[in-house]
Symmetry: C2
């Protein structure tokens, strides 16, 4: 070894990563890797699909992005406001509301205790019909 580096390194700064980050930050709601890629292409970007997949995964793994699975089974990403929260998503127009449900967190802890489970993840997303769409 010519040098000993003790810093965790982290992902490199590349044009592609920057573009992807920007694209994700512009999202109004969740979007899949393919949707994000499409959108970028329309905006003139030439970043490859595989890179988008890899980068989104990496960002989600690093906690910079939240990933959920939509009702069709695809993985969708979104930048999240800091802190733990959930989403209330309209099945019809995809409108999304971020909700914090402290009672749910308590509930989960209670559940865990009652059944001897630990490290319970709850990627809880609520899908429903929003007022506007119900009106039609």
């Amino acid at each position: 070894m010519t040098s000993t580096d003790l810093t965790p390194a982290g992902p490199r700064q590349t044009r592609q990563r920057a573009e992807i980050r920007r694209a994700v930050e512009e999202l109004a709601s969740f979007a899949t890797a393919q949707e994000i890629h499409d959108r970028m292409r329309h905006n003139g970007s030439g970043v490859g699909l595989a890179t988008v997949y890899r980068t989104l995964q990496s960002m989600a793994g690093g906690g910079q992005l939240d990933s959920i699975r939509n009702p069709d089974g695809q993985v969708a990403y979104r930048t999240c406001s800091p802190g733990h929260h959930h989403h209330l998503i309209c099945r019809t127009c995809a409108r999304t509301v971020e909700v914090t449900v402290p009672q749910l967190e308590q509930l989960v802890r209670g559940l865990a205790a009652d059944h001897g489970f630990s490290r319970i993840d709850h990627e809880v997303e609520f899908f429903g019909t929003c007022a506007d769409c119900a009106a039609r």
Copy 2:
């Protein structure tokens, strides 16, 4: 028309459908179409994979089966005990506990009201580590 039938018809009774129903009823926990198909084959059944997929979908659509999406994005099926409830699933050993969480139901109604949403589905499944697996 030679005859006018007013009954909704419904799925036909076939050997395959019966076999699939039986297989699903024997499940201890959720299983995907492929897993169910494999299991049936090992038990000597020659039912085709496509038929298993189609039949499970049909049964789930008819409310005879509950379907969830597992963490890998595959659709998993299970016969459910009557009444609304959720599942607490061990990520390691797949052990599943059925839990009723009345407070959650209340919470959901509250959420809906607060944000003008209606018909909120909450396919809420909790994934965690059960006591046995945590002990190792």
